[in-house]
């Protein structure tokens, strides 16, 4: 098997005067594990349904392996789908469910048997041939759905929130399995999810969608570490936003004055800004360090050092979430629990603390002139 490439050009779709997809254009490489991440109602499922041929686009083009899919119905496309509800045929056994696509192709019985056994093995369900879907657990149903979708040897596997019906532990497990199936088969995976952890942990690239638009496409670390958009920064993981007016700029860095923090903040100028621009910065809570003592700033390092009062601490096992109050503005900082010796006395509630971050770790997500 080898993966099919996808090219989307100017795709738009409306339902009842509500535009759910707004002029989308992007490519998915052959064999890629591509996630589309967004909140419910962002249009990601519609996008998947258009790629699969279940929904017709209003305008735009979908190319699979450089072939326009305009006149290809769902049953003629090299795509197979794993539906959110699995959509197993209730009146057919596990064997018959998996054999269904091959029976449609009118393959001979011994050939079908051979193939079904191969795929049952792959999803570790040998011995379940005679069971009906209702006799299976959620995870097992999921495996049947995977085997049934793969047996046709599609170029693309479309996965519509496939793990959302499973419990957290099983979800992790199935995710790893999906990843290894992806590696084994080499086909293109398009994975729809609203769960950032799923998207970040297995994808080659992630597209973040909101309100019918793709806001950013990048590797998981690009998406997380350098979000280009306030929505992306906020939707993926937790973050802090700081707003202010640009006051100084020089070289790689610039400084803004924040009215709420009543101080200057230095930041990495990854987009060009002019003095006087109103800007919004994002800074991830785990990049902010918290200590009782004032850290010494050397001239070569671009640090923002602030002082505040601990408003709330939430204990999370491996880390604690600090909510620090600076003149009424609450900033989140996550502090991992290191070894006992490194933190002999934990910072407590209502304590005055210093916190700081590297100017490189904050990103511009909004600039208005």
């Amino acid at each position: 098997m080898s993966g099919t490439s996808v090219e989307i050009q100017g795709l738009s779709k409306s339902f009842d005067n509500h535009q759910v997809l707004k002029n989308l254009s992007f490519d998915i490489r052959s064999g890629e594990f591509f996630s589309i991440l967004g909140p419910s109602g962002c249009g990601k499922t519609t996008l998947l349904r258009i790629i699969g041929g279940f929904e017709e686009e209003d305008s735009g083009v979908v190319l699979l392996d450089n072939v326009d899919m305009k006149n290809y119905p769902a049953n003629k496309r090299k795509t197979n789908t794993i539906f959110q509800s699995y959509a197993l045929f209730p009146h057919l056994t596990v064997y018959e469910n998996i054999a269904f696509p091959l029976k449609i192709k009118k393959m001979t019985k011994p050939l079908i048997k051979n193939e079904v056994e191969k795929y049952l093995n792959m999803v570790k369900l040998s011995g379940y041939e005679k069971k009906y879907p209702k006799e299976l657990s959620g995870g097992q149903k999921q495996r049947v759905a995977i085997a049934r979708a793969l047996i046709n040897q599609p170029g693309i596997l479309l996965l519509d929130e496939p793990l959302s019906a499973l419990d957290a532990k099983l979800r992790q497990h199935m995710l790893v399995e999906l990843d290894s199936i992806h590696d084994q088969t080499g086909i293109t995976f398009i994975y729809i999810t609203h769960d950032q952890h799923e998207a970040l942990s297995v994808s080659d690239r992630v597209a973040v969608m909101n309100e019918g638009k793709i806001l950013q496409i990048g590797t998981p670390s690009e998406i997380y570490e350098s979000p280009k958009d306030a929505f992306v920064a906020d939707f993926i993981g937790e973050t802090n936003f700081i707003e202010g007016i640009v006051q100084e700029k020089g070289g790689k860095f610039a400084k803004l004055y924040s009215e709420t923090l009543k101080t200057m903040i230095e930041f990495d100028m990854d987009q060009s800004v002019e003095i006087g621009d109103k800007v919004k910065l994002t800074i991830r809570p785990e990049k902010i360090r918290v200590k009782r003592e004032n850290p010494q700033k050397t001239s070569s390092q671009h640090f923002n050092i602030l002082k505040g009062k601990v408003d709330e601490i939430i204990y999370h096992g491996f880390q604690s979430k600090f909510f620090i109050d600076i003149n009424g503005f609450i900033l989140k900082a996550f502090k991992p629990h290191l070894s006992y010796f490194e933190e002999s006395e934990r910072i407590g509630w209502k304590e005055e603390v210093y916190f700081w971050w590297d100017a490189d770790d904050s990103f511009l997500v909004e600039v208005s002139k």
Partner: protein, 279 residues
Amino acid sequence: MKKNYGTIYSLPLSVWLAFFFIGPTLIIFLYSFLKKSPFGGVERSFSLDAFAFLFNPTVLQIAWMTLYISIAVAVITLFLALPTAYFMAKSRYKDSLLLFIIIPFWVNFLIRIYAWIAILGNNGFINNFLIQTGLVSDNFQFLYNPYAVVLITVYTYLPYAILPLYSTIEKFDFGLLEASKDLGATHFQGLKKIFIPGIKSGIYTAFLFTFIPALGSYAVPQLVGGTSSMMLGNVIAREIIITRNFPLASAISLILSLLTIIGILVFMKKNENEKKAVK
């Protein structure tokens, strides 16, 4: 152990059924094995005369006609009801459509048959129209043949078939049809291999709901059937009202009941197997 109140709750209905259903059925059963008295009643002596008479060619012919009409009715009704129910279940106006299906029930059954006579009869709308437009010179006999009986019986029992089909189709997960397309099936293959098996219980129910009452038809063949399409129901009525041969009427009723019971048992068995499969 907790007391099962079910038995107590079902007592009124059990008493009712015992008096008005099991009782009469037993009487029919007994009567069919008795001897016909010359004055219209029964004599208390065992006799198989009634059953022997069932093999009379006239009765056999009528029995055959009854079966033929009932099967035709059930099959035609099913073919009409299935697309209708499908359309209704997928329509956004399903509630109002459902109402339209139920409205005919508000009009008396006999009046609805007479309405058909007004449409198809010799002085009916259609004949008047045909004569006025000059398409035919003389009245066309639409009524008093088995086709008229089938047509009007289909009309009568169509809602009984649509309703169970509608309720199963409405519960059917149409995502499964999408899945079948995704897996390479055409729309027609999806309907055949996924949809029809998925609504099987509705199809059985619809078939029985039309086949069983059609088997016991009396009014429709009586009013629009003529002599060529007498059904067993008419024979029973004739034997009771005119000939006053109670044992024969009982024997025919018994045979009809048996046929019905066999139909229901087969249906229940099928349904049970299905449930086991999809449990």
